[in-house]
């Protein structure tokens, strides 16, 4: 049982000091979770701490590879709106 940090991580450091198990490594090109150490914060906190502070949707996934902060959940931007605006910018 462990979370994983994936490539959309922006190396912002917010998560690392919060981890009760020191499981987060400031690696390059992006931070990583040591899956031997990560407990998903069970027994320490009600919510996985890295997931609770991470500002980037999709940067942390669970063991089924699902985004723990899914699109739109942090920014409040509806995913459809995001897609439309990106398409419009690409077309310029």
């Amino acid at each position: 049982m462990a979370v994983e940090i994936v490539e959309s991580c922006v190396n912002c450091w917010a998560c690392a000091p919060l981890c009760p198990n020191n499981a987060i490594v400031a690696a390059q090109p992006h931070f990583l979770v040591d899956d031997e150490k990560c407990t998903e914060c069970l027994g320490d906190f009600a919510a996985p701490q890295c997931v609770a502070i991470c500002p980037i949707e999709g940067a942390i996934v669970n063991e089924w590879n699902e985004a723990m902060n899914p699109p739109g959940s942090l920014t409040g931007i509806p995913p459809a709106r995001w897609a439309a605006v990106q398409a419009e910018i690409a077309a310029r």
Binding site: A14, P55, I56, G76, R81, E88
Partner: protein, 522 residues
């Protein structure tokens, strides 16, 4: 897109008590600075004690910002809240140097870089930490930097700016590090407004959303403000003006933070473009126009000292405000420098004393010229060319291209921003700055120069003249066509004198006889 550094930072600071300054000006015969009407400095309305503390601070003092330099060190990447005008993922597309990402520094690197900059640029007087995240969400890195600097360069002022969430918990530590200027970004005092600005905060080990999040943030900001004031730490408040969200509300914010003891309030415009990937950018929230911003600043100015010379500068910006010399001080260049730190500090102190004396002489002169209520207490060393009587003629806005030193010394096409002065019979006063995309960026493909010039002209909306060191033929024609009179005749002259000279020319030419149509209607 606005990032912490740009918002919290447009100015920030801290004043270590060791700065060498001339003795405070003796209060002069019955005329308090505030009642005197010297328009030149927005700090003139402040109590002497506070003015003294900020007078050589480029971010707080309009006079000092022409002469002193500041630098921001990017040591604080993490943030504990989300603002709808910020995106932690993308670098700002409108960055002054596209593609350049803030170089994240360790506290040791930040100290090394600061010392190198302070040795190379003796005007350097302020080191601030403002981001790219929230400095107080990175307390270990932030305070380690301050601790080392206080030891190695005790003449530098240290400052910090914050979103305020972690402020109450940090006040003790801030006081311990002798940081006596803090900037708090306060965009609202009403949680319903806040819910439209902040989607979430991280608080007590949980992510909290919506109105509840805003309420906690607001409470912490206000408590932090009160605690800092109670400890005698200077507090400046920054607000981002978001049309339709908090634009009306900010007058109330201004009133409250003043009542609680903030000494400056700085309202800056929202910057939102779809390509920044921010909530506001993507959702089509518009930015305020220059005129709307000025109207709000004017409305708030009745309440407290507003800062009009603010540039929303980068976290790692180096140099005089509005000028970025960061490229000269990358970590590899800094590591190769050999520096005599003692000599560098002595040079800074000498320069500071000299500039402070010059500013003091200017203030004294202004005071003398204004002393209708008694003999000038100080010999007048600079002749102020201002009409003795309230002469006729309406006020006019003028844009000035300057890269510092208080003189007109920038080429129109090179100006990244313009200082906006309001000239009237009573004198010239700085009322704001307007940013422009550099329209002449050399030959590295700045794209369609035409469009950028048009954008620059739009940024100068409302100005009747633009004063610069030089100006090309093409922009000249287009500016004239837009009703903005280009003027390159006052190159290297002091800004306020030049602005008043142009105003008097306009007056003599009969252009200022009547109030503007709008004013007449009002």
């Amino acid at each position: 897109m606005l990032k912490e550094e740009q918002i919290h930072f447009a100015e920030n600071t801290v004043d270590l008590p060791v700065i060498v300054k001339p003795a405070a000006p003796a209060p002069t015969g019955g005329c308090s600075a505030a009642s005197c009407g010297s328009a030149a400095s927005q700090l003139s309305g402040l109590p002497d004690e506070i003015r003294r503390r900020v007078q050589d601070h480029p971010c707080y003092s309009e006079e000092a910002h022409h002469h002193f330099a500041r630098m921001h060190a990017a040591v604080a990447p993490a943030c504990n809240i989300q603002c709808h005008y910020c995106n932690r993922k993308y670098d700002c597309a409108n960055e002054s140097r596209p593609g350049v990402v803030s170089e994240l520094l360790t506290p040791e690197q930040a100290v090394m870089k600061t010392l190198a900059v302070a040795a190379a640029i003796p005007q350097m007087s302020v080191l601030g930490i403002a981001g790219p995240g929230d400095p107080l969400a990175n307390p270990a890195r932030t305070f380690a930097t301050f601790r080392m600097l206080a030891e190695k360069a005790p003449d530098l002022k240290l400052c910090v700016s914050t979103n305020g969430l972690a402020l109450p918990a940090c006040v003790e530590e801030l006081a311990k590090h002798n940081i006596d200027h803090v900037t708090i970004t306060i965009n609202c005092i009403d949680p319903d407004v806040g819910a439209k600005i902040y989607p979430w905060i991280f608080w007590e080990n949980k992510r909290i959303h919506g109105r509840e999040a805003a309420a906690i943030l607001i409470e912490q900001q206000q408590r932090g403000l009160e605690m800092l004031v109670a400890r005698g730490i200077l507090v400046k408040v920054n607000s981002v003006m978001i049309p339709g969200v908090n634009d009306r509300h900010l007058q109330e914010v201004s009133r409250i933070v003043k009542a609680k003891g903030a000494f400056l309030h700085n309202v800056m415009p929202l910057i939102a473009e779809a390509e920044h990937g921010t909530f506001y950018g993507v959702m089509g929230q518009r930015s305020p126009t220059a005129a709307e911003l000025k109207a709000l600043q004017d409305a708030c100015a009745g309440d407290m000292n507003m800062m009009r010379h603010c540039r929303q500068c980068r976290a790692d910006a180096v140099g005089l405000l509005g000028e970025d010399r960061g490229a000269e001080f990358t970590m590899d260049k800094v590591a190769a420098m050999e520096i005599d730190h003692e000599a560098a500090m002595a040079r800074r102190l000498a320069l500071r004393a000299k500039v402070a004396a010059e500013l003091e002489a200017k203030r004294a002169a202004r005071h003398g010229a204004d002393s209708a209520h008694g003999a000038p207490a100080v010999p007048q060393v600079i002749t102020l060319q201002r009409p003795a009587q309230a002469a006729p003629g309406r006020a006019a806005l003028m844009a000035v291209a300057s890269k510092g030193g208080g003189v007109i010394n920038e080429h129109f096409g090179h100006a990244r921003e313009f200082l906006i002065y309001e000239a009237a019979a009573a004198g010239a006063k700085l009322v704001g700055t307007r940013k422009t995309d550099l329209y002449c960026a050399g030959n590295d493909g700045c794209g369609d120069g035409e469009t950028v010039l048009a954008r620059t002209i739009r940024a100068l909306e409302g100005c009747e003249a633009v004063l610069c060191a030089r100006i090309g033929f093409e922009p000249w024609g287009q500016l004239e066509a837009a009703g903005i009179k280009p003027n390159g005749e006052h190159a290297l002259e002091a800004i306020e004198d030049a602005v008043m000279a142009v105003w008097r020319e306009m007056l003599a030419a009969g252009k200022l006889d009547a109030p503007t149509a709008a004013k007449r209607r009002a």
